[in-house]
Structures are given as structure tokens and as C-alpha cells.
Amino acid sequence: MDGNISILIVDDEASVRDSLYNWFIEDGYEVARAENAKQALSILESKNFDIILADIKMPGMDGLEMHRRIRSLNKDSIVIIMTAFACVITAVQALKDGAYDYITKPFDPDDLSHLIRNATSQISLKAENEALRNKVVSLENVEDIIGNSEAMVKVLNEVGSVAQSSSPIIITGESGTGKELIAKAIHSNSKRKFSPLVSVHCGALTESLLESELFGHEKGAFTGAMFNRKGRFEMADGGTIFLDEIATISPKMQIELLRVLETKTFVRVGGNKEITSDFRVICATNKDLNEMVKNGDFREDLYYRLNVVDIKIPPLRERIEDIPILVDHFIKIHCTSMSRNIIPIDQQVIKRLESYDFPGNIRELENMIERAIVIGNNKEIRLKDLPFEKDIVISTIESLNDLEKKHILQILNKYDWNISRSSKALKVDRVTLYNKIKKYDLKSTN
């Protein structure tokens, strides 16, 4: 009947276990039996069950204690406590501990049927809720990718064509270009969209932490490992794992990762059971992995394993035509989140933004807009609301000449190429300014 629902029966009486086993098996459930709590916990370490029917009185560990242990294992199972003696105090305790229900032996067949039917309905609703939530998130993710430029249209076309396959993908692009958004778009357009997209920021973790994060660990694997913990690969079963800043992982982790990608099996830290997980891997980096391979900093075999599809996201300065719609988008989302009316932006600001090279890419643009909304006059975003004059450090400048050229251009732009006002601001005479313009071949963008 409900072939995909699994039930674990835990009772020290063989006749009870067998009777329930026969009853559920006739209903088409997947059923397992355990004669005590210890055996049940051992079974649960390697397999999840949707429903656990546990006797309250068992030698050794009782049903309530077993239930607490199950909860500490982070299992989502619905636990139903059974007892031969109706006892309100114990029933209340079981329910307080999060048990789904409490039933007194022997059961009326109809009561048992109802109980299991309700529990399976809850499981189905939970799964449906999760799937719908993922769907909503997916829709948002796709809408979050803003851009009409040729370069972005090309990227979005690539996303559409690679989403349906399960091939590994590397997303390359400068910091702040939206690599994670692209990963989300690929996942939410794939067949895996109703399973999780699990993100790991490899650069933020030390080697040992990353190992435990990716593969999980067994209780006692290291100091502080109080309970078993699922790794990200395990959590991504059926879905996608997104490994951000892949270029930062150590040589040891590169070998481990290669092995997992080839076999889709791994062992938790401190464990010995092989765990299999069906995941798709998407990596992102702002480094040139090809160059790293040549320099011996990244394993060649891992590179080729990951680099089945390479999506390159252009930096913002190479798609300046997207700036106006990005600005509109950020104004809308930040004004809305701050419960303010949507405010317009001075076209001078747009022009200025279009001439800026955005080393921090879209993330920098978004921060600029958010800041302008916060500190501005609440009526319009003006040039002076942006941090150009004092905050921005142009990282591409190397020589003193470059710095001078950049500074003169900034002042000229600020005063709309009015030579008198610009020379006054620069504290040089007009002739000197003309000479500098000629020297650096400066031209007005208007």
C-alpha cells in the first residue's frame, strides 16, 4: 500500500514483533525488527526509518530513553510509544519528549491502522511541504539573476543547457560576480531541484574541519564529537553539493575529493561504514585552476574530473549595460526590506557607476546602493550618497602616473569636465590641466 514508508518495530517480546511485522508487511510497508533499544540504535545508525514503534518497557534501555537517543541522532523518524500498561504520567513524558503518539497494547486493529495512516500522512505532508518550499526558493533564485547583456544571456543559456545533466560544473568568475546564484539556478532548473542544494565554503574551513564538514563524523571521532553527524555529501543525497572556493582546498583534501567524486562513496571521520550518496557537484572559484594545475598547486586529475562544464561569469565592468537594471533591482529589494517607498536614482549616478570598474563586482554595487538608501535623503539617490570620493580604493592602480590619471579623471567627471572648476579643485592652473589631459589622453564619456 505504502511501499515507500519504512517502519522499525522495537519490542523485547518476539510475538509482538512478529505480529506487528506480519500486520505491516501485508500493508506493503518496509518493516524491520529489533529486540531491544541497543539493537534498534545500531540499525538506525546505517538506515533511517519513517516510523519507529517502540515498547516502553524493555530490559536495558527503555523506550523513552531510546527515544531521547534517537532524537540526539537527528533522526526525523516519527516515534510511537507502545505499552502494555496505560499510565498517564509516562504517556505525558513520552509526548513531552516529542513522541508522535502513545498506544496501549493490545491495540484495536482500526486504531493501529488510523495511527499509522495519520503518521504516514504527516510524513507525506512534510515531504510535500519541503518540495514546495524548495520550488518557491528555486523560483526566487532564478529571478535573482539580473542581466540583459550579451555576456549574461550567454551564461543563462549555458545554465539552461547544462542543468538537466548530472555532470560536474566549474563556475569561474571574480569575487562578487554571483557564482553561488548561478549554482542555485543550475540546481533549481535540474531534475534534482526537490532535493537539497548544499553549499560548502571551502575557504572558510581548516583542513580537518572541512573533512568533518564534508564527510561527517562518528561520535567520539575527535574531542567534542559528542554525537554522530551527517556530512554535507550525505546531506546532498539526491541533490547538489556546491563547493565554493574550491581552489583553496589542501592537497590531502583534493585526493579525498577525487575519490568521492569517482565512487560516490565515503566513510565518516572516525567511522568504518561506507556511505553512498547520489549528488551532483558544482564548484566555484575566482582563481585560474588551469594555471594552478600548471604550477602544481591543484591536482590535474581532480581538475579534469571537475571541469566537465566550465561556466565563466563576466565581471561587472564587462557588462556595464546591466548596471541600470541591477541598480533598479537593488533599490527595489532594499527599499522593500527597509519598508520605504521605492526611490528614484539621479541619472548622473548611473553614468558615474557605468564608468567605475567595480573590483568587488555586483556585491560592491549592491552594497553601494544599500548604503545610499540608508544614508540618503529618502527622496532620490544622489552622487554624493555614493562612496566614490572617499571610500573607494582602486586596486588596479600600480604607478604614480596611473594614480594621477585616475584622480584627474575622477575630478573631471565630478565637475562634468568643467576645466575651470576641475583645475580649481585640483589646485593647478588650467594649462597644466590641459597638458595632463593631453598626456593621459583623457576623454569625456558624455
Binding site: S15, N22, D27, D108
Partner: protein, 177 residues
């Protein structure tokens, strides 16, 4: 090759024509020859004085242990109140994909529910329980189709809602046309 057959083993007083009509219906449903046999196992051995009922698991095991060919599906027919340890009562039970089942008409009688006796209805209900349990012995699990005899029934009213026939899908799954 020997053909599969079904054996109805009557325990207790069940009328001959009642049994023969059950056999006819069972044969019509499964399309195998159905035989009737009288047997007197010692039911007192399975009586639970606390529950004042008979242990269905014990009786099922007893019948299953009696030596018969694996080409025979046996079902014990009773008029006693059956239970299994975990449930307050059962109408019948069978070994899934095995060779043995049991069914009782005790809880199928209208009189048990304060209603007037109805022999026709009793026959109809009992036939359904017997076919249902035999279905399990053929490997069928409970079916969602409302009219299929393999639909789970925990109340006698549930039995009345379904037909005595195995649905097309269930038939196909065990290879009976």
C-alpha cells in the same frame, strides 16, 4: 506438472452446504481446484483465559506445520474469536507468500453487533475474508482499490464495502487471469 490447489480445513461446526458454497466462490476467484477437509485440532491449547480468545498465531503455526505439499494453499476456517498478541481481535490472517491462512466468522456475525442475524450477509463476509487471506498467501499485499477484496478491513463494515473479487491489478501481479 502438478497443479496448485486450495484446501479449506473446517474446524468446528460449519454446515456442509455453507462450506461447499465458499469453496465454489474461492475456486471461481483463484481458478484452482478447491477441496474441503474436516479437522479437529485441540483448540483448548490455544485458548487464552485472560483474553477469553484464541491465539491466532499459534493456530496458524499449527496448521502450517501439518505436512502437505507446497502446491496446496491451506486455510483453516473457524467460528471462534481470534486474536494476536498485539491486536484486540482479527478476522483472519495468513503467511504472506506462504501456504497457510486462517479465517473466523465469529466477529462477522450481525448478532455480535446487536443486529438481527443475516446468513446471506455472513456468507458474503466470510467468503471475502477467506479470499482476502488466501490472497496474502499468494503474495498479495493490501490494495488501495476500494472494491478490491485485498483492501484492508479493520471493521466488519469495511468488509461490506468491498467486493469479493481481486482487482485487475492484483490479479495481474500474481499472474491470475
Amino acid at each position: 506438472m502438478d497443479e496448485l490447489s486450495i484446501l479449506l480445513i473446517s474446524h468446528g461446526i460449519l454446515k456442509k452446504d455453507f462450506l461447499e458454497n465458499i469453496a465454489k466462490e474461492v475456486s471461481r476467484e483463484f481458478r484452482f481446484p478447491v477441496y474441503i477437509e474436516e479437522s479437529q485440532i485441540e483448540l483448548n491449547d490455544f485458548y487464552d483465559p485472560i483474553r477469553r480468545q484464541y491465539d491466532g498465531n499459534g493456530i496458524l503455526k499449527e496448521i502450517d506445520s501439518s505436512s502437505t505439499s507446497t502446491l496446496v494453499k491451506k486455510i483453516g476456517l473457524f467460528r471462534i474469536d481470534l486474536f494476536i498478541p498485539i491486536l484486540t481481535y482479527i478476522f483472519g490472517q495468513a503467511i504472506l507468500n506462504g501456504n497457510t491462512g486462517i479465517a473466523s466468522l465469529y466477529r462477522l456475525r450481525n448478532e455480535q453487533y446487536g443486529m438481527t442475524p443475516d446468513d446471506e450477509l455472513l456468507f458474503d463476509r466470510f467468503t471475502k475474508v477467506v479470499i482476502h487471506e488466501l490472497g496474502h498467501s499468494f503474495g498479495l499485499i493490501h490494495c488501495h482499490v476500494p472494491t478490491c477484496v485485498m483492501r484492508s478491513s479493520t471493521y466488519v463494515e469495511d468488509i461490506d464495502q468491498k467486493s469479493q473479487h481481486i482487482c485487475k491489478k492484483c490479479r495481474a501481479s500474481i499472474g491470475i487471469n
